[in-house]
Symmetry: C2
Subunit: 492 residues, 2 copies
Amino acid sequence: MADQITKRSENYSQWYSDLVVKADLAEQSSVRGCMVIKPYGYAIWEKMQRTLDDMFKATGVQNAYFPLFIPKSFFSKEAEHVAGFAKECAVVTHHRLMNDPGGKGVVVDPEAKLEEELIVRPTSETIIWSTYKNWIKSWRDLPILCNQWANVVRWEMRTRLFLRTAEFLWQEGHTAHATAQEAMEETERMVNVYADFARNYMAIPVIVGHKSPNERFAGALDTMTIEAMMQDGKALQAGTSHFLGQNFAKSFDVKFANKEGQLEYVWATSWGVSTRLMGALVMAHGDDNGLVLPPALAPIQVVMVPIYKTDEERSAIIAKMEEFKKALEAKGHSVKIDDRDTLRPGFKFAEWELKGVPVRMAMGPRDLAAGTVEVARRDNMTKTTVPLEGLEHSVEDLLADIQKGIYEKALAFRASNVEKCDDWEEFKAKIGTGKFLLCHWDGTAETEQKIKDETKATIRCIPVDSFVCEEEGKDIYSGKPSKQRVVFAIAY
Amino acid sequence: MADQITKRSENYSQWYSDLVVKADLAEQSSVRGCMVIKPYGYAIWEKMQRTLDDMFKATGVQNAYFPLFIPKSFFSKEAEHVAGFAKECAVVTHHRLMNDPGGKGVVVDPEAKLEEELIVRPTSETIIWSTYKNWIKSWRDLPILCNQWANVVRWEMRTRLFLRTAEFLWQEGHTAHATAQEAMEETERMVNVYADFARNYMAIPVIVGHKSPNERFAGALDTMTIEAMMQDGKALQAGTSHFLGQNFAKSFDVKFANKEGQLEYVWATSWGVSTRLMGALVMAHGDDNGLVLPPALAPIQVVMVPIYKTDEERSAIIAKMEEFKKALEAKGHSVKIDDRDTLRPGFKFAEWELKGVPVRMAMGPRDLAAGTVEVARRDNMTKTTVPLEGLEHSVEDLLADIQKGIYEKALAFRASNVEKCDDWEEFKAKIGTGKFLLCHWDGTAETEQKIKDETKATIRCIPVDSFVCEEEGKDIYSGKPSKQRVVFAIAY
């Protein structure tokens, strides 16, 4: 099956697409730019959702649901937000179809034109802040900590499955606070939730930092991000958390009476991750044989393949497997016995490798007699023979070890591809070779733009937890003074 | 708080709206016909989702996700389906906004007109069957059992929160089978899952049956339904499961090679429940004091209200409450201690009554000294004094008792409002008074239509599990022969 997949070394981009499609994660739909998320892909997304949802709720966040449509006029209210967002989007203009008078199927009923066009949400700040206006009267109503799991639409010209699609699934948190400090704390809290999730569940090391003003979300005073390195050395922005100041409160006139009875504008944050995380997961860990899923997010953690010739052998082996399946499930692990009898074991092995199942067990009559089983790790493709006695414990340890191993491999890869760089010629030579470069920057949008124009590299973030280098220096491009290095990379 | 709610006896419809809004379940948004589901309402919906999702998965169903948009041409493919569905819907015609050349915010960019209009899905049969075409080649690929949790849009003229909204949330299952029999079995399996959920979680008795041809889903050969009686005696269709025959397979040319290698069209089902269930929950059990939630779906099952004068009393009582909270949470129950110190206990009592929390505990210094607590049941508004010793067990029993009690109350109400009726004059006199009438029907669409025209009553279903009366008789309207009684009622 691996021979159907382009090798990373040949064409990384094609390798990615092959993996997504052949491992049954997603496919293009008949609607331009919209994807179908297939059951296996969706099962991974569900695990991500469930985990993140629990993490959000542990911080006091509640879920809610706001309308899919946003009146066009709302986009005229927050000027900066519009400039960044409202352009490429799906516009609903009519509310009825009718039979074609010419008999050719259906046509749009010209009589059913909406008075005001509706925009399919590209993000929900405007509709949510128009709602919060009615929810907030006094300091007692604050904070409001709402999240929604929803679909959003941004009319992208060039799409790639999971990474950039016209419709995608995401969560968007929108919080309202009495003070700037509380809102900034919330912004940081949530970017740290994302970092925690990326590291401990996705097994992806990320850099937490602030975006430069150029790269901020439209309408934000500060955007924090988690940035991950993919196997081609490019950066992928995997989640963002925005401090929105009072911009939306002012646009939608949302004020609260403080403890002294004075009216003040409310402070806002928003934060989100999307099905783009699926792309990150594939690109961070996959290899030329297929997906490599961290156990914490694998829909199937252990697959068992029986090897037999006779029906008698088959039932003895499967009976034994059922035993271990139960024991492992009792420990909260997900196990599949692949008992399809129209396929050869070798075909099954390749299929589960392609699908990234962390642990594969194979058992034949001789194993059964010897009281052993062959255990293969997907991450490093090693095989060992393990005694059946105590198997549920050894498998549990193995899963933990794989989770750790995948993270460490990604961490080592990143470590070997991050460099300090203080020379502009060196920068130009290295930036396209799959490196994160830590460079001094003078803090101006002009310099950032010039570097981008010349090299396509952008400032991924001004780091706050990994690779923090607070030291005096000179901007790599302009030579002007700088107080901290920032992370430059070519990004997805 | 109850004085803000219209009494059921005064205006049932207003009572319903009051409950939904005052209990913080949902509200109208600034987008016509679209609702905002507030955190408390969404928490109930999440419990419904989680429970149903587990039930679906236990039957082998997997979740997936299909595009929000459907190309207009797809609606021309299944003629019957179009006639029933494609008319009142949201039509996307453009993909870009631009700054108004006149400087007044944003306008639709006339250059960005789509070649083919896109319809926001009112239901997904067409887009899903166009996808299944690529997934299905042989009998080995069948059955396909997919479900999606999604938002859909139907441009309703008159909307009511949860019961009928332009956008609503739902799940839609779409299955593909090799034989008609398997598809019909799936149709029945899923309507029975819905009935089980309604009875055992929502505590609502439902009648399972077949829809008459007039009331079938557009494009279905058979529609099965669960029908519930609300407190005004009207019927609410709470979930449907459709046997679609080969209609969609033929429209989208989906064939499979059977075991003999011959190509056959695939057989289909679809089945769904929506946020309408929230409306059913409110209307089936609420009273003039507010919601009455069955413990199985209550976001908060037990609320504890401390009663105190001094800080010392407060901390002693809350410490004790924390103890029981832990013990109850360990048993899987959700508990809230309402320690807000700006509100009086009486206010809190009324608020939690309004919100339908099944069990309320109040504890003051004297209770603490005596080792007791006052326990109030929301369903029958009774109070008892219960010893702290073994409280977690007595509360657990109480919750089970309430769940049962709410169901039995609804069952008794329905029993007293279902009657056999064999006389047309009697039918006309009784049908508007909040009754389900079991009547003979001659099986023709004409008779059904005439009865509807004269009385607004429809055939809710031809029952298969409750109220089955297979007996010879004469149609209540036409006098023609009939072999079974059907359920007539006025419906939501």
